[in-house]
């Protein structure tokens, strides 16, 4: 969830205090004068226990090679950890995530519609770390200090040689006219978007499978949101559930964009041929306000009253980047200023930003993150040897479930290239397969399973 300005301030202050106290206890910055030591230590001892605890080193085996700390165990971080060890087994890799287990968002729309079970989506960080010979630390990253190369976590600090930031996205409720943090919290609690935290998915599944009928609002955010096809796919899966349950329900799909963003022909055909009685697609529906008490969504054109809803706000890069002062707050996504080919923060070749919080405009999603991380792992391994890796494009393989029992899906695969004139990335080759069928459905599950195997098993 988006932070209020107050929260951000207090978090920054805290980190400053943390870094300073780190110096007091002699961890990082050499002391100015020995005479100051006692007073400094006394001062440090006056800090509340909870804060002093953070100033100790996190419990980890001693690094037996250059330590690479990866912040975020999503598709990018998991792939990064594995391939760093493949490209340089001497790296001491630590993967950090605040979630104790992994629940996949890709393929989760098929799970909402009961086409796979939760076991299919759920995987263990312990399995991944053991299989690929790295450490997993189940803790929350609070911030980092690039000068002394430390990551601060709720378990204490970790010294790094390289750091990879793959913390993903956060919702930006302010872009749908919900600015008050209390309202944001209420909106999140009642109508979670289902793209950040797995509890949101569980809530959504229950909602769709117990909905009694009436109007169900879904929306497509604007900007570079996570998983371009997913909101349209989710509308199909929600409609398939309602159709199967034979309830009288209308899905209002409020698209904040002027048109369907991806697989347009396929989704248009699905909306009309399969779900004509269930889905009303409303393009150019910029959400300007949401009244939680009245259950009303307002756009520039109209107000829509609903019985239940899934509100997917526009997204931004994790506020971890902002807190660390490396985010460019003028960009809509609040992304860091990084090298477009090598992914490191400009001026710091020991800190990399990948995955959905990356600065490049590649489609946010699992396959992009996986293929990108395989490449960036090569970049980091090469850097450690004083070499350079040859750039290659990430790939975006994207399946969309359209119908169920049996599961039917369509797909797209795309690559990127850098346009030297415009100095921007653009699509290189895009291959669409918009005729959905059960072969596509089978392929979508095999794809997900293959990716889980890559990240967690062998």
């Amino acid at each position: 969830m988006a932070n209020s300005d107050k929260n951000k301030l207090s978090r920054r202050h805290f980190l400053k205090a943390g870094a300073a106290a780190g110096a007091f206890s002699g961890i990082s910055v050499p002391l100015q004068a020995a005479a100051a030591k006692d007073t400094a230590e006394d001062k440090a001892n006056e800090l509340p226990f909870a804060i002093r605890k953070l100033l100790n080193a996190a419990t980890l085996p001693k690094a037996d090679g250059a330590r690479v700390v990866i912040v975020g165990g999503g598709w990018s971080g998991l792939t990064m950890a594995k391939y760093l060890k493949i490209h340089n087994p001497a790296f001491d890799v630590v993967l950090i995530d605040k979630r104790p287990e992994f629940i996949s968002f890709p393929a989760s729309n098929s799970w909402l519609a009961n086409q796979v079970n939760l076991d299919f989506l759920t995987h263990s960080y312990i399995d991944a770390a053991r299989t690929h010979d790295y450490y997993f630390l189940n803790t929350t990253v609070l911030g980092f200090d690039r000068e002394v190369k430390k990551v601060f976590t709720s378990n204490g600090f970790i010294n790094y040689d390289y750091m990879v930031l793959a913390p993903g996205i956060e919702y930006d409720y302010s872009r749908i006219g919900v600015d008050d943090p209390a309202d944001q919290a209420r909106l999140y609690n009642n109508y979670p978007g289902g793209f950040v935290n797995s509890s949101e998915l569980i809530t959504i599944k229950r909602k769709l499978n117990t909905f009694k009928g009436g109007t169900f609002v879904l929306n497509v955010p604007n900007g570079e949101y996570r998983c371009t096809a997913a909101p349209y796919e989710r509308a199909c899966m929600a409609a398939a559930i309602f159709k199967q349950r034979r309830i009288k329900a209308k899905i209002l799909l409020l698209d904040m964009n002027a048109d369907i963003r991806i697989k347009k022909q396929g989704f248009e055909k699905a909306f009309s041929s399969l779900y004509g009685d269930y889905i009303s697609y409303l393009p150019s529906s910029e959400i300007s306000q949401i009244d939680i008490d009245e259950k009303t969504v307002s756009t520039d054109f109209d107000d829509y009253t609903f019985d239940d809803a899934i509100i997917y706000p526009p997204v931004r890069a994790s506020s971890l980047l902002e807190d660390a002062g490396i985010a460019n707050m003028k960009t809509a996504q609040k992304i860091a200023n990084t090298d477009p080919y090598k992914y490191h923060v400009i001026g710091d070749e020991y800190v990399y930003v990948t995955g959905d919080s990356r600065s490049q405009p590649f489609s946010k999603g699992g396959h992009t993150a996986n293929s990108e991380a395989q490449y960036v792992a090569e970049v980091i391994a090469a850097h450690a040897l004083g070499k350079e890796a040859r750039w290659r494009s990430p790939q975006t393989m994207c399946f969309s479930a359209v119908d169920i029992n049996p599961l039917q899906a369509m797909s797209i695969i795309t690559f990127y290239k850098f346009n030297k004139q415009s100095k921007e990335f653009e699509f290189d080759r895009t291959h669409m397969m918009e005729d959905w069928n059960s072969e596509g459905g089978q392929a979508s599950l095999a794809w997900a399973e293959g990716m889980y195997r890559d990240m967690f098993y062998r």
Binding site: S393, I413, M433, E439, G440, A443, W447, G450, R453, Y457
Partner: protein, 230 residues
């Protein structure tokens, strides 16, 4: 002509006899007559990544399948299926729950063999006349040609892969996997790869990437799209 193709699938069963350490090997030979139409349907699973044309990708992530010998394709499918050839991503695609049994594998392999090849596959960095090209030629002719053929045509009967038309990066990646012991291959191939230095292997592969694909095997243009899926 295609309907006359039969595939031999060897199934190795290991039976552990209770109370003894003895393991008996049982070899079963099965023949299948492929059905190309059914193969097209099954290829709908593969085409999501390999694309309708099966032409592969210049960054080495997907090989060109079009034009490859049927026995070579079948061997790869079976090797990946039983884990002999490791591929996390491909593994679930070749399991029976996804593509079906031996009959379906035979069908899909036969279907792929009907596809015309990519007229613009990616080649290595050293063109004809360069020192590396000529060195690669020498290495290829000495170490590779006996099995893979003077022009990289391979051999279906003996299950030697056709190299003509294969993407440079794909071959390069695979040879390094073999070199590093990640991919297990025929001992003869393994021996050659162990013997040669990485630079020599790259040069040989560079040379192989320039083999001309017979015109009759190629699609009319690089913009050709497989009408079965478009």
């Amino acid at each position: 002509m295609k309907s006359a193709i039969q595939y031999a699938v060897f199934v190795l069963l290991c039976l552990t006899i209770p109370n003894t350490q003895a393991v008996e090997k049982i070899t079963i030979k099965l023949d299948f007559i492929p059905n190309i139409e059914d193969g097209q349907t099954t290829y709908g699973v593969c085409a999501r990544c390999h694309l309708p044309e099966a032409w592969g990708n210049d960054d080495g992530t997907y090989p060109q399948l079009a034009g490859q010998h049927v026995n070579v394709l079948m061997k790869q499918l079976l090797d990946i299926r039983n884990g002999t050839r490791h591929s996390s991503l491909m593994f679930p695609f070749v399991q029976s729950r996804t593509v079906g049994g031996y009959q379906e594998l035979s069908n899909v392999v036969a279907y792929i063999s009907t596809l015309p090849m990519n007229p613009d596959h990616s080649r290595g960095p050293w063109q004809k006349g360069s020192e590396q090209f000529e060195q690669g030629k020498e290495i290829y002719q000495k170490h590779c040609a006996a099995c893979h053929g003077d022009n990289g045509e391979g051999n279906n009967e003996l299950v030697y892969p056709r190299l003509q038309g294969q993407h440079f990066q794909y071959m390069n990646q695979q040879i390094m996997r073999i070199k590093n012991g990640v991919r297990q291959v025929h001992p003869a191939m393994q021996a050659v790869v162990s013997e040669l230095e990485p630079e020599q292997l790259e040069q040989a592969i560079n040379y192989a990437s320039y083999f001309a694909v017979p015109k009759e095997d190629m699609a009319s243009s690089k913009t050709w799209r497989n009408p079965d899926f478009n």
